[in-house]
Amino acid sequence: MADDQAGVNRREFVKLAAGGAVAVAAGLSSADGVVEAQRRTAPGPDAAERDLALLALDAARSAGAVYADARVIRVLSESINTRERQITNVTKSESYGIGVRAFVGGSWGFAATSALTRDAVATAARDAVAIARANDRVAPSATRLAPVPKVPDGRWITPHVLDPFAVALESKAQLLFRINEEALKVKGVRFVTSSADALKESRLLATTDGSLIQQTFIRVSPNINVTAVAADNSDSQTRSGSEGPMGAGWEYVTGLELPARATRYASEAVAKLSAPAVEPGAYDLVLHPSHLWLTVHESIAHPSELDRALGYEANYAGTTFLAPPEKVLGKFRLGQSLMTFVANRTEAGGNATVGWDDEGVPATSYPIVDKGLFVSYQSATREMIDAVAPLSSYKKAPGHAYGQSWASIPFPRMPNVSLQPAARNISEEEVLAATDRGIFIEGDGSYSIDQQRYNFQFGGQTFWEVRKGKKTRMLRDVAYVARTPDFWNSMAMIGGRETYQLGGALSDAKGQPMQLNSVSHGCPVALFRNVTVIRTA
């Protein structure tokens, strides 16, 4: 069986992935460790794709672009969905095309096509220039692009052991059916769905600066949902699994021991039906990383995006309470001294981990919150460096440009943003022991936050009452509400490296047209004092 085979491979994967972890732990400012580890196996560019990309750059330059980049992207994805004892969907998809971005005066133009003929590609390049020129005419802009070093032969591939597209469909389906079977064995469970998604993306970037970079990204994402329904149909409760997507191969999925997890999720869904609803009030919260990653994503990672602070996202994602830059950088206290957040595109397994970004800038890793103090924005691209260079550590672009596909224009996107664990190896039990009257929350649930990232309300998957340092009974209908700076300043204790894990999403939405980004957030278990808890039903 594929999962037994990969159980062995998991150790190998951990060894391989450690290359990235070493780079981060050593405080290297680039992904040198990961890049070096992967350089030998990473494929180089396809000759035909390279010719088309260079043709696009020539056409754009001839049409008057002062800068242009071309991205030839081929995305393979696969989705297998099941419900109880049946398959509900098996889909593979392939999307292939070229996107050309041209800079004229101070304006951008973008054109993309799935027709990969020489004529169509040259036309797209000229269209990109024409669009940039038209914009520069109606509304001139003084934007300038920060310089980046040339990368003439960049190669990178996601560290992985087992290419998910090399694993047979039957063995994937078998694993999903075993998951469902284990869940259905639990009395009271009526519905279970499970799925496995995989993605493999080849991304060739060519720029008029002379960079040519070929990268291959691999991501996998398993999902489980178990629903229990009350005997008289008066209530239903669902437990969704907490396995995040990962920048990894199929070995990640098989290493999770999902059938055993399904049994636990099933009993928790049933237990939720008869669990007492929470009594609203102030509680200490012990947040497991399977839950906390999403709170980090929404209330730390989004508000520290530089484009939001500058106003780029005002019409959709919004602005941020961390603004204006001159009033908050190096001055705003977001938490106590135990709190350090690192922005990176280098973390092993991270969904946003890459060799270079879509402007050819090498991946970096740097603190954005240092011992509680807000010290740097993230998500900057080449055009934004001028705006903050006098205020921040940015003297060059940190590598955060990303376009979802060939069809989408690169723009500032969030890197992995991770809460660093305590130096001492504090266990989950120790953190619970420090809690007199609290709630322990696992898994991400309903989440909502305002457009400046002040007021948030988060649910979860399971809620356990904590009394005198011990988990006692299950509660239900829990959500906590807080104002972001108050919440993070109430963080009183964090776990050590052993409690640290990555959570993440493949579908972080931002931009107009809306694009999805893949991102991870690592965190240890953490304790927050005196947070307002409401009852959601």
Binding site: T88, S93, S114, A168, G311, I409, S446, Q452, N455
Partner: protein
């Protein structure tokens, strides 16, 4: 200019070609084609603009009840033939799906229109002119504008090995604008959505967003609580677009929906909302057209979902309909809520003390059984006293059951198509009136602007 996307003849020859390679028991081809283009502004300038052309072919093959699908945008003959072979190989490998039903045969469809040359022929310069007009007004008012014009034009088709062929061409456009004061102390929003560019009033959008930003200056606190509330059409649309999926018979029968009946079954035929609530859908609704068929080629027609508060219909998939021994019914393609001739001002005038909400942000489901949503107000929230707006107030988070909301409707105004998506792309058409409701739960204050 020729219409964007493949013509009916091009679609027919593409789908015929794909079907000619097919060797499965059943094969279906879904094709979408066209151009999407945009112009985006922020900080009173154009930030990005672009255009994407694509054709996506989805092939679904079935051997008995073994089914799989492959999607590709590589259209040369060799790639298409390989995609068909791969789909068939994948289907043979797939475990049986006991719910699979054979593809339907040829169907008759209404000609509903939906492709407007005014939208399909829009150029970068046209979008740029509309955007710069707004930017100029914002600069003159010493505010900071961020806006988005989203345009799609194209066609889709479905064909299957039982002779079914369906084709529909459509356009859509959404134009939205946020205007903020330079110090970030106030924000106003306005937007339009339609199929026809001539219905997008750029001038009025600019005026409305500026007026809202001006009116919301100097907002002050209001205690959280339950208030009589007037919801502008955009606010209503953002909530209602979240409940379209709830009208599903299967989840109701399975005991996990608002429309589940205690003890089993659904609430069909029962009074579920206030009698002022009537919800319909119609693929031919002018400037809110949708394809007159579903993704599997079933014809869609005008339907009544809720009539004077009584639940009249639920969506039955072909499989679920067969199991429940009823006729199948496709889900709602657009959402049309009936109203009256009353204006927004008429609704405001009827409120003694309450709240006016312009729009929402970050709406998420809390509990599907109670149809409870959470989210936040955004870009203009006001206190109403004695029939008039008395002062601007802070934003709030709400936690509110949509069932309770629709039970507490007291007045509905004039319906209009709104931009109901939070990301301001044109989505499934939502045509709704402003509503006055007895009770809306503003749960906590948000400092966001």
């Amino acid at each position: 200019m020729p219409p964007k996307g493949l013509s009916r003849d091009e679609m027919k020859s593409l789908t015929d070609r794909v079907l000619s390679y097919a060797m499965a028991d059943q094969t279906r081809v879904n094709v979408s084609s066209g151009v999407s283009a945009f112009t985006r502004t922020a900080m009173n300038r154009v930030t990005t603009s672009g255009s994407t052309t694509d054709v996506v072919v989805r092939i679904t093959s079935a051997f008995g009840r073994r089914v799989a699908a492959i999607e590709t945008n590589r259209l040369d003959a060799a790639s298409l033939e390989k995609a068909v072979r791969d789909t068939e190989a994948l289907a043979r490998l797939s475990p049986e799906n006991p719910e699979y039903l054979p593809e339907p045969g040829p169907q008759a469809y209404r000609d509903v229109g939906g492709y407007y040359a005014s939208t399909g022929d829009l150029t970068t310069e046209d979008r740029g002119r509309a955007a710069s007009l707004v930017l100029e007004r914002s600069k003159a008012a010493r505010t900071v504008a961020a806006g988005y014009i989203d345009v799609s034009a194209g066609s889709r088709a479905i064909a299957n090995s039982n002779g079914l062929f369906a084709y529909h061409a459509a356009t859509s456009v959404a134009s939205t604008l946020t205007v903020r004061t330079p110090d970030g102390s106030s924000s106003g929003w306005a937007g339009d959505e339609g199929a026809d560019w001539t219905t997008i009033e750029s001038d009025r959008i600019a005026a409305d967003a500026l007026a809202k930003c001006e009116a919301w200056r100097g907002k002050t606190a209001l205690e959280p609580g339950t208030y009589e509330t007037v919801l502008e059409p955009t606010a209503v649309g953002m909530l209602m677009s979240r409940i379209m999926g709830a009208f599903d018979a299967r989840s109701a029968d399975e005991g996990r929906s608002y429309f589940s009946k205690r003890g089993g079954g659904t609430l069909l035929g029962e009074k579920v909302f206030d009698e002022r609530v009537t919800i319909t859908s119609d693929p031919g609704f002018a400037n809110g057209e949708t394809a007159p068929f579903t993704g599997s080629g079933e014809p869609t027609g005008p339907d009544t979902w809720v009539e004077n508060g009584v639940l009249r219909n639920l969506f039955y998939s072909r499989y679920w309909a067969q199991r429940q021994k009823v006729a199948s019914k496709p889900g709602m393609a657009n959402f049309v809520m009936q109203g009256t001739d009353a204006s927004l001002d008429d609704l405001i005038a009827s409120v003694k003390r309450g709240v006016l909400i312009s729009r929402f942000w970050y709406i998420r489901a809390l509990n599907p059984r109670a149809l409870t949503l959470t989210g936040l107000t955004r870009d203009g929230t006001f206190l109403i006293e004695n029939g008039r707006i008395s002062r601007p107030i802070t934003n709030f988070r709400f936690n509110q059951s949509m069932g309770d909301l629709l039970k507490s409707v007291e007045m509905a105004g004039r319906p209009t198509r709104v931009c109901a998506s939070e990301n301001s792309s044109a989505g499934p058409p939502v045509i709704v009136p402003p509503l006055k409701v007895r009770a809306f739960n503003l749960a906590s204050v948000s400092d966001a602007i």
